[in-house]
């Protein structure tokens, strides 16, 4: 048990070294975007007037969070690349698979850490976003906006999972095929839609996102089988 704990601590340490700068950059970038959103709302409410601004949000489909749209996607892509690209250089994943842990366990452990880090970044952004929204909008607007932006965050997670699948795949042709599937899958989360329009589809999207979390095991399996 003690060995298991120190081993997982070591694996997390390695993953942390790989992603720390990327995670910090995206966290900071998100905070800057949120500050920008805050200043824009403040500016528009002060200089345009609150009634008009709310009217635009409620009836004309204006989304004050639109600057955030592709940030979760970029963060998912960035964290995945930072975590899995170094494993593919010189087929370094061999070292990871040689560690005294079951291959699928170590891969899922790494994946869990990456997902957790991404969720933490998303959580910080969302909390700040809720705080900013709460200052200027009633709960109804805030709730609708949150429903609008949640698929963007799910899309970010799906991007992380699919990018891991692609990066760890040993055969280039398969990478291209996975990339095409990933493109079709991820664009589902980023369709242009009105405020809270995704509400009926959220459970299905959530299920798909969770399912995509384990596809990386397939690339790991193919690598171990010696596909090249």
């Amino acid at each position: 048990m003690q060995i298991d704990y120190t081993m997982w601590k070591a694996i997390i340490y390695k993953e942390w070294i790989k992603i720390r700068w990327t995670a910090a950059i995206f966290l900071g970038l998100g905070i800057l975007v949120l500050i920008n959103i805050l200043l824009r709302i403040r500016h528009d409410i002060l200089f345009v007037d609150a009634t008009n601004y709310w009217y635009n949000v409620l009836f004309r489909g204006y989304n004050y969070a639109s600057m955030l749209k592709f940030l979760p996607f970029l963060a998912g892509l960035g964290i995945s690349a930072a975590q899995y690209f170094p494993e593919t250089v010189n087929r370094r994943i061999k070292l990871t698979f040689h560690l005294p842990v079951k291959e699928s366990r170590v891969l899922m452990g790494m994946h869990l850490f990456g997902t957790g880090s991404l969720l933490l970044i998303y959580a910080v952004w969302l909390i700040l976003f809720v705080i900013i929204s709460a200052i200027y909008f009633p709960p109804e607007i805030m709730q609708s906006t949150l429903i609008t932006i949640i698929p963007w965050f799910m899309g970010g997670l799906a991007t992380y999972f699919m990018a891991a699948l692609i990066l760890l795949e040993p055969v280039w042709l398969f990478r291209v095929l996975y990339a095409l599937v990933a493109y079709g899958f991820i664009t589902m989360f980023y369709q242009r839609a009105g405020l809270a329009a995704y509400l009926p589809a959220l459970p299905e999207l959530a299920v798909l996102t969770v399912l995509s979390s384990i596809v990386v095991l397939f690339s790991g399996y193919r690598f171990r089988k010696g596909e090249m």
Partner: protein, 304 residues
Amino acid sequence: MRGNHNQRKGMYAIECKNLTHYYGKKLVYENLNFTVEEGKILGLLGKNGAGKSTTINILNGFLHPTAGECLIYGENSQHLTPATKERIGFLIEGHIQYSFMNIHQIEKFYSGIYSRWNSEPYWELMSKLKVTPRQKISSMSCGQRSQVALGLILAQDPDLLILDDFSMGLDPGYRRLFIDYLRDYAKTNQKTIFLTSHIIQDMERLIDDVLIMDYNRILTQQPVNEFMKRFKQFVIRLKNPNADFPKNSLSLNIERTKDRVEFYTYGTLEELKQFLSEHAVEYVSVEQQPLTLEDAFIGLTGKY
């Protein structure tokens, strides 16, 4: 684990049985059989494309053989348990390591992974490198990276070391350092080593047994001293440079340039002279030449 290790002395650390592998339709080898006894250092030598890396990949579970199996400490190499993996130190061709770390970070990482971790040999080797504490492994020279990879394996304290082309990219000084350190470590601690290299210079200093592969087959597996004693090169000067030179089971390989014939054999000078007289080969002289392991390897496998 150590008690278990001692009880198993004399058994095989590696046992490959009827190993057959194809890449698509291309046969790499068929029904390959070899063993590595515990406590021995075995060098797998072969030309490029003879199947060295294929064998290493099968041993490490990164390639499913078309048929047959390799057992490491009795377990199929495709399904090694974590406990057995802990007993194996693995050096990837090119001394690949987590080069995004520095020497402190990587030591901290591996020390949490392996229960028998002993950092002493690692830091001893690191003290010889002229690197800054924060310098990433990726910015080190090939020789320095080889020392980091070697130091990590020694600190892991495995029972079996699998070293894939350990000499790749090393200058003679680092190669000698690597070999001397490894030999001393292995013999002091009764470790088993299975290694491949395509640079054969210096290998005589390291290995106990030699396994020489050619395309599709094993040419020989025997103790290196015995091989070097039995395998001979005779240089024959022919009277007639255009005369045909016969072949039989005595000649393992013949390399000829005009009147000079290099004759490689396990036979004796007397047997060769008898062979020459039986086939009425007229010669000016027959001389046995001293061989290094590299000469013997080329003699056995041919220059091309």
